[in-house]
């Protein structure tokens, strides 16, 4: 039962894709079979791997920065209620700015190439991680903190043994959202002002109208994002079941 659902979903999506291909034809879409084949060809090509490495490296750095800064801001705003009340609307407002428009400024501040991708990925991820972390701390049952006090735990011990485990499911959910946005951010960062990476391949292929490359790269990205997401989702479920 459990393993059948995702398989059914994948089957449905592949069927839709094939049906779509029959409708719009070769101009806009490649068929699932030929896309998988050209992805395989691509993966066998040694010239392709530097792009993958570049993107992975940029993404890993951006994600690490987003998690550290996001959790830091989130904990601060969550633990101190006044700061939270002041900061939350500012965070939400920042979240709703289309960050693509900030790209040129970021480029000029941090410089072209790798730093721009990392920064662009990170700013997409920071806010959701911070918002989730803030809510997780704020919504903790006050009984937990009081229990810690009754048991005479030091602040550090109570944070470690009670508060963190209780807040963890929400935090993981935030990290999952942050992961997705950082990945999209990194790719967008690569689409403008970059000479390497999967985002660069995508925009290049778009300009040349090379559907084969677009579809293969997109497929690779979807597979990567979906698998990491599935892992994080499984961790999330397990944490929630335990709580």
């Amino acid at each position: 039962m459990k393993w059948r659902d995702p398989l059914a979903l994948i089957a449905i999506l592949l069927l839709l894709w094939q049906a779509m291909y029959w409708v719009v034809g070769d101009v806009a879409l490649t068929s699932p079979v030929s896309t998988f084949r050209s992805l395989a060809v691509m993966l066998a090509d040694p010239r392709f791997w530097p792009h993958v490495n570049e993107t992975l490296l940029a993404f890993a750095q951006g994600f690490a920065i987003a998690v550290v800064i996001g959790l830091g801001i989130g904990f601060l705003l969550g633990a101190h209620s006044m700061t939270g009340e002041v900061g939350e609307p500012i965070l939400v407002a920042l979240y709703s700015i289309p960050k693509v428009t900030l790209y040129p400024i970021i480029l000029l501040i941090v410089g072209i190439g790798m730093p721009a991708k990392v920064a662009f990925g990170a700013i997409q991820g920071i806010v959701p991680i911070a918002l989730f972390a803030m809510n997780s701390i704020r919504n903790l049952n006050p009984v937990f903190a009081r229990t810690g006090r009754v048991l005479r735990l030091s602040p550090l011990a109570s944070a470690q043994r009670i508060l963190l485990p209780a807040a963890l499911p929400e935090i993981v959910a935030g990290i999952r959202v942050g992961f997705s946005l950082t990945l999209v951010g990194t790719l967008l960062g690569e689409m403008f002002g970059s000479q390497r990476g999967l985002g660069y391949l995508l925009i290049q292929a778009m300009n040349l109208h090379n559907m084969r490359t677009i579809m293969s790269v997109t497929l690779l990205l979807v597979i990567f994002a979906a698998s990491v997401n599935a892992v994080l989702l499984a961790i999330d479920r397990r944490l929630r079941a335990r709580a």
Partner: protein, 225 residues
């Protein structure tokens, strides 16, 4: 105004003031970013000249269409899915992964389906915004207390009447959370799409100004969003 609101205003004013100071003293060179006062000045100037009016109008119209379309279809799809638990269970992983997929990569496909005009951009905004509405509608419908459903059943409300009179009104606050996200995503989607490929709109103007190193115009376009 509440105390937090006052502090927030102070924080924002201090931040803008600091930016102004850094720009004026040349710590941030005007090459990177003009001072906030300069931005406001050229905003007023360009708005008065009406040079951007057409672009702003196009973008706002596209964003509005995308918002309305996503709101309506999101609530409808969410309500239907809530009544089909099997379909929902199968689609669940898709919902969870949806935002990790770069929609912009599908732009060429959308262009072939919808043509060269504004429709592909509206479609990107719509696709980004739709899922937020669906997810939040489902979330709200899940939280309807059993008692309310039982009372509705006692009054012999049919399925759709129950959705309309009991479930959806109860879910409204959650649905509105989705609407808020929907507005933000529609802006992001439409402007992002204009940025990539288009010949009109605010996003195009930003991209054009960027390529020509016209920072003041770009910042103005951003302030307008």
């Amino acid at each position: 105004m509440k105390r937090a609101g006052i502090i927030r205003m102070v924080v924002i004013l201090v931040a803008v003031g600091a930016l102004e100071f850094l720009c004026r003293t040349g710590v941030i060179s005007s090459f990177v970013m003009p001072a906030p006062s300069t931005i406001i000045y050229s905003t007023v100037q360009i708005l008065a000249s009406g040079r951007f009016a057409a672009d702003i109008w196009v973008t706002l119209r596209n964003v509005c269409i995308s918002i309305v379309a996503a709101m309506v279809s999101g609530v409808i799809v969410g309500t239907i899915l809530h009544r089909l638990p099997t379909a929902r269970r199968i689609l669940d992983p898709l919902f969870a992964t949806y935002y990790a997929i770069p929609v912009y990569a599908f732009y060429p496909l959308l262009m072939v389906i919808f043509g060269l005009g504004d429709l592909p951009q509206i479609a990107v905004g719509f696709l980004l915004a739709l899922m937020a509405v669906i997810i939040n509608t489902l979330n709200g419908l899940d939280r309807v207390p059993r008692v309310l459903v039982k009372v509705a059943r006692m009054h012999r409300l049919s399925g759709w009447a129950m959705d309309r009179k009991v479930r959806l009104p109860f879910a409204a606050p959650y649905v509105f959370t989705g609407f808020k996200l929907c507005v933000a995503y529609s802006f992001v989607g439409v402007i992002g799409a204009e940025f990539i490929t288009s010949s009109r709109g605010i996003g195009y103007e930003i991209s054009y100004a960027y390529n020509n190193f016209d920072r003041e115009r770009r910042l103005l376009a951003r302030r307008r969003t």
